[in-house]
Amino acid sequence: MSEPLLTIDGLQAWYGRAHILDGIALTVGRGEVVALMGRNGAGKTTTLKAIMGLVERRAATLRFDGRDLSALPAHRIARLGVGYVPEDRRIFADLTVEENLEVGRQPPRPGAPAWTPEKLFALFPNLAEMRGRRGTRMSGGEQQMLTLARTLMGNPSLLLLDEPSEGLAPLIVRQMAEAVRRLKAEGLSVLLSEQSLSFASAVADRACVIETGRPRWTGTMTGLMADDGVRAAYLAV
């Protein structure tokens, strides 16, 4: 079997003096959707930020597509084909929908689906109707769609999706899950952080459960659904 698209081992991360991640290890294979699960404060968001180079971090292994990421700044990592979708959306509120997409635009790269605004508008029809609208005047669900679309404009081969279902209406959550499945079908690999078991089970192939910055359990999504003990120990609130 070939090397996984993303390999992480012994990942440490800090916010100032606070040690947040202590030895996270996981892999994401090509075309695979992996759910990073855990309670609030377990370190899911920090894991994704650490991969992206947005927090101070160190790792025994942090490889993506055959490249070592550990010394690269965020924009170089993005240009290698890692797309990051933050949980707090971070739309450029002064920019229109089309301008937000323009910021994310990068040249197409081999081995990853190539996106244009038109293809994205087909995927997210809501956005098509508000191309000229500024980010300040959008609902939460629309902003979430725009955040995802903006990242896809960079033609990533791996998507880091932080809490995609958080704070969204049930209808939007279903649309979101549908979008993730479509992206997987296009050949994208996805690492998503999630608290909602139902969302994760709807889209993910495998799960990695973490708690207080340490890996606790790894296996298939079906395995996790079957294992009441793990769920009770690390996920139940």
Binding site: H75, A78, R79, R90, A93, L95, E99, V103, R150, T151
Partner: protein
């Protein structure tokens, strides 16, 4: 009627230049969140470079406009170089470091410019083809100024297109809002920021080069324009291009007509206008409320410690200092008197910065107000020294009471800009109100009473007054007053939620610091025997900041050490060279980059790492 029209038109011409320069400043601030003090330096060097090029090539219209463009582009390149060499290392620093670091560049550039072009004012040639004037309602108006008036809106339009219709502009606007997110989308913020500095400084250089046919090129134009550009940017709303345009128009007119109505206080008018706008519209005319995320306070929030034996150490030091006249000569005593005065000046500023987290960029106002207060009492009322000295902290305190009411309404950069504005108001009064203050000539003959006329006697008097005030300031720092101030500094919201009226405490601190600085100023006036407007000018405020920074912000003793080192450096080392601005500027830049914790912080860091190694 026609006279008024021409006056309005000349106001528009002033506004055009002001807009060119301020647009660059506001663009740079909008993206980097750094208030670039050196912006005026690019304007000045742009003018000098433009002068040289125009002298050589400016005989034809093509040569003239080519020279102007070349000067602007050259300034852009220098600006980009400054971003790479200095600003890039300051993005995460507290704004104090950013302001000081760029001010260091101002000093360096001043000396380099004087070295390259000489100290004489330079008169440039007129623009070919635009030398005459046209009659507007029978009043002559220079053609060149008409071209300038047209240039303002043209540049605004081009900048609008650049930011709204190009990919580069879109990326810049995105990075302005959320630098980290933009970089996570593959945008290299470093390259973007270098480009922004190129653009901003090229605009400043353009403004400077365009001045060559209008007025003499001088070594003073950098500070004059940057202070005005600050006002424009703050009035318009920091980061807003349209706001800068609007504010330029208003201030251009204010100056054109203000000079007719109040010729003595045109400078004051501009700053009063700014203070009024900020009280009515705290974020400027077209600024937005979100604005200015707090910059990293990390270097400031290290807790102060009372230290076990501080009291006995201080007494020992005082006794030692009091014994100095027994062994030292007059020169050493004069020097030491100044050091003690400056230590009080620095400590009073430290009260604001270290405890209150309030970075004042105009602390010289209170020092100078105290000095002028004493001098005026002596000069106009024939007051004896004790009365005049008592008047110094009172007058400075009253001034700080009024100014503080405005200033503490805002925090961070706006606070710094407001304090700067009030210092400039005080400076312009001292500078322009000849009848009372003697303007440039200052006030001479401010000598101590006969009982304190000896160098040793005056030194002891200074030591007693400054020592006593320092002791009071230290008491305040470790009293509930000091705790409340520090609570407000570290988290204003939390402090308010436990019932601390943060603003009132900041106001009180402002007045206390102002009075203490005023006493230092009064003592300084009698030590020197004279006062000059430079005592209230920006460099004096910066001196105080450098002393605080040299000593280290986190320690109460820091400003004292800073004052000693700084004054000895300035009077002993820098007097050996004509290029003291260059030396001082480089020291400031080095301090900001290499010793952000100051001398005392650096030494205690060394000591603790030494102790750790031994353990």
């Amino acid at each position: 009627m026609s006279f008024l029209l021409v006056q309005a038109l000349s106001g528009l011409a002033t506004a055009a230049t002001l807009f060119l320069v301020s647009s660059g400043l506001t663009i740079v601030f909008g993206v980097t969140r750094i208030v670039n003090f050196a912006h005026g330096s690019f304007y000045m060097v742009g003018a000098y470079a433009g002068w040289s090029l125009i002298e050589r090539f400016g005989g034809t219209p093509a040569g003239f406009w080519g020279s102007v463009t070349a000067a602007a582009l050259a300034m852009g390149v220098l600006g980009a170089a400054m971003e790479i060499g200095l600003l890039r290392r300051l993005y995460r620093s507290p704004e104090l470091f950013q302001l000081l670091g760029t001010f260091g560049v101002v000093l360096v550039v001043q000396d380099l410019t004087a070295w390259a072009w000489g100290p004489e004012d330079l008169l440039g040639r007129r623009a070919p083809g635009l030398k005459g004037s046209i009659d507007i309602l029978d009043q002559p108006f220079p053609l060149y100024d008409l071209v300038l008036i047209g240039l303002g809106p043209l540049v605004l339009g081009l900048l609008w297109l650049l930011f709204n219709r190009t990919r580069w502009g879109t990326l810049v606007r995105a990075a302005t809002q959320d630098r980290e997110m933009a970089s996570a989308l593959g945008v290299d913020p470093a390259r973007l920021f270098t480009g922004v500095l190129f653009l901003g400084c090229a605009l400043a250089g353009l403004g400077g080069a365009l001045q060559v046919p209008r007025e003499a090129v001088t070594l003073q134009m950098d500070m004059a324009i940057v202070v005005e550009a600050f006002v424009v940017v703050v009035v318009g709303g920091m980061g807003s291009l349209a706001g800068a345009f609007l504010a330029s128009l208003l201030i251009g007119q204010l100056q054109a007509f203000g000079i007719l109505v109040f010729p003595q206080i045109t400078l004051v008018l501009v700053f009063l206008f700014m203070a009024v706008v900020l009280v009515l519209r705290p974020h400027g005319l077209l600024g937005r409320a979100e604005e200015v995320p707090p910059t990293a306070p990390a270097t400031v929030t290290v807790p102060l410690s009372t230290g076990g034996h501080t009291g006995s150490w201080a007494l020992a030091l005082l006794a030692l200092l009091a014994a100095v006249p027994l062994v030292a000569g007059d020169y050493a005593l004069i020097l030491l008197t100044e050091v003690v005065i400056l230590a009080l000046f620095a400590a009073s500023l430290h009260l604001l910065i270290g405890l209150g987290g309030l970075v004042s960029f105009g602390h010289a106002a209170w020092f100078g107000l105290g000095a002028y207060g004493s001098a005026l009492l002596v000069k106009h009322m024939g007051a004896p020294m004790p009365l005049a000295l008592a008047g110094a902290p009172v007058l400075a305190g009253l001034g700080a009471l009024v100014a503080g009411w405005f200033c503490v309404r805002r925090s961070g950069l706006y606070f710094a800009m407001l304090t700067l504005a009030f210092a400039q108001i005080a400076w312009s009064i001292a500078f322009q109100w000849y009848a009372v203050t003697g303007g440039d000539n200052g006030i001479l003959g401010v000598w101590p009473s006969s009982w304190a006329a000896g160098k040793a006697a005056y030194y002891w008097l200074t030591l007693a007054l400054c020592g006593g005030t320092l002791w009071l300031l230290r008491r305040a720092a470790f009293a509930p007053f000091g705790y409340a101030l520090r609570a407000g500094r570290d988290s204003g919201l939390r402090a308010e939620s436990v019932g601390i009226d943060v603003r009132r405490f900041q106001w009180m601190a402002f007045v206390l610091a102002g009075s203490a600085a005023g006493l230092a100023g009064g003592l300084y006036a009698f030590a020197k025997g004279s006062v000059f407007p430079t005592l209230l000018a920006v460099p004096q405020s910066v001196d105080a900041l450098v002393m605080v920074l040299m000593g280290g912000i986190q320690t109460v003793a820091g400003p004292l050490a800073g004052a000693v080192v700084f004054h000895l450096l300035k009077s002993e080392v820098m007097s050996l060279t004509d290029w003291w601005r260059l030396v001082l500027g480089l020291i400031i830049v080095a301090l900001v980059l290499v010793f952000p914790r100051g001398i005392v912080g650096f030494l205690s860091g060394l000591r603790s790492s030494f102790v750790r190694r031994r353990a």
